[in-house]
Amino acid sequence: MNKSQARLDLVKSGLKKRHFKEKTFKSLGIAAILAALAMLAILFVTIIGSGYSAFQQTFVRLEVFFDRELLDPDSTGDPEVLSQADYGGLVKKTLRNIFPEVKKRRQKRDLYKMVSSGAAFQLREMVMNNPGTIGTRQTVWVPADDDIDMLMKGHISADKEGSGRIKKYKLDWINHLKEKDALQKRFNFALFTNGDSREPELAGIWGAAVGSFYTMLVTLLLSFPLGVATAVYLEEFAPKNIWTDIIEVNINNLAAVPSIVFGLLGLAVFLNFFSLPRSAPVVGGLVLTLMTLPTIIIASRASLQSVAPSIREGALGVGASKMQSVMHHVLPLALPGMLTGTIIGMARALGETAPLLMIGMVAFIVDVPTGIFDKATVLPVQIYLWADSPERAFMERTSAAIIILLAFLLIMNAVAVVLRKKFERRW
């Protein structure tokens, strides 16, 4: 009786310490999670905080009289003539009509800079789409210049006297427009539908998004079948010997190679040796395939290994060939894991910048690519390019592009989760 009591006391005396250790460990874990969440929150708050304003753009209302004298003096109606007409002049004329008091040459030039150079293209588009516009008076909202946009959003300030980029008289014009309600912030469709531009108010991510899409398409079409086939062969068919060991070590090493090295490889092999086009999604896709393959192979092998051997035996037991047992039973069970690995690899590839710089995808490209051989850029490189631009307005657009890229990544990861849930089968 005494002896067992003593033993219990011994256990009890240690218990306090054991529980304390457990509690400490738990609270450390919670602290770590909270710290991670806080970092994430800070990231999102800063990026969204500095980027959300880019989804709006200041527009100026112009009452444009599409003067036949100016655009089509001979009333030909010929599209050739219409497309060559001086729409810039039309914009300038309209602005002069609003502020007839401006006479000085210098001030006039500043006045013309109130609206974006895209305004002329917008008017041209209107006339080309509907030649009947000529001779009529129309109300048109055209994007304001980025300086005015920044001022409206409060990113740059100007005191009463005006300073720096915003002169006093310019401030008066702006106030005049504001009073007439001719200056409005509207949703910035251009950000989603345009390619890159030197003018921040005209710059959009569509070109980069399409470039990213083509690059990812090439990457997916090459890396998924190759990766899965490699994994299946190595895991299910290959003899286990020194050669397969060497291959395995090499694949694991490839997964750890810095991505810029793959870029150099792409430059040397795909551009210089195979003479593939520079800056093209096809080369970007090839380079990213090299980078993504090891990830997919490793994930696929792990997921093949996790399929219970009893399933393989069951299939072999009823007389399935090795191939049939793999194709009919093992592969379908391993597919969710493989898909997850692939999507994670693709998400990494989507955010990859360095190797694409090496193969020239960093060029300034205005046109939206129409195929994998066109010159293109991709979202992360677009972010890099905008972050490098001096205009204040590109700063918020950089953040906006980051938000869009993050949204894409979130969607891809969500798809991975959904696919895994959908194909997951209970044992």
């Binding site: 286990k240 219970a308 009893s310 399933i311 393989r312 035996e313 069951g314 299939a315 072999l316 037991g317 009823v318 007389g319 399935a320 060939s321 049939q324 009919h328 039973h329 069970l333 089968r425 209970r426 044992w427």
Partner: protein
Amino acid sequence: MVRAHDEFAETVGQPLLNNERVKISCSDVNVYYDEKHAIKNVSVEIAEKEVTAFIGPSGCGKSTFLRCLNRMNDTIKGCRIEGNIVIDREDIYNKNMDPVLLRARIGMVFQKPNPFPKSIYQNVAYGPRIHGLARNKEELDEIVITSLQKAGLYEEVKDQLDHTGTGLSGGQQQRLCIARAISVQPEIILMDEPCSALDPIATAKIEELIDELRRNYTIIIVTHSMQQAARVSQRTAFFHLGNLVEVGDTNEIFVNPEHKLTQDYITGRYG
């Protein structure tokens, strides 16, 4: 006097049948896993259309030997097999023997029920489908239903053939695996401890089923339970450390074992 177990012992009892009923004939079979000598000089004949039980303590090689009979050991790395195994006068380890064809003739039921994670119907239909045994949907339906009936499972699952096979209870899963094995109409069924993961009621059902099946199939069952061997089998083979110690009629071997090791094992003094 019991001989040292690493010696190659002569099998006592009645390993050879010397009659027309021989289905499988094994002579001097040795199996090595890399350096480990797992089966030592086993020679035995197995009769058709009856149940032969392999008994013995864990690690004695009875499962290994069973898996030699349908070349399941081919898939294990470092496994080497010597000797002759002849089924219906054909050496199954000769070069022209295709293991896929062999396994279509020899069904196998495993220790842990391993239905495919597909529907009950697909589980049973899989074998006939890959071997092309059914010409159309009606024939396939027929095969699936008769196989499930023979496995004594049809009445329980006939309304849920499209449900997943892994959702059944352990005993039902094992009977599904038996249905899957007999769906390709094998001549021989190998069972590797089919009841070790099942409760007594499910076990009783499987044993009944085995008794039923032996009219049409040659059955070899590996079991840890001596009661089970005594209940279901006509002949029993006792393995010990890779040696086949004794073979004989089940009635004979349990009542009157010749070898001291056999006697110790079945009386529970060993293993």
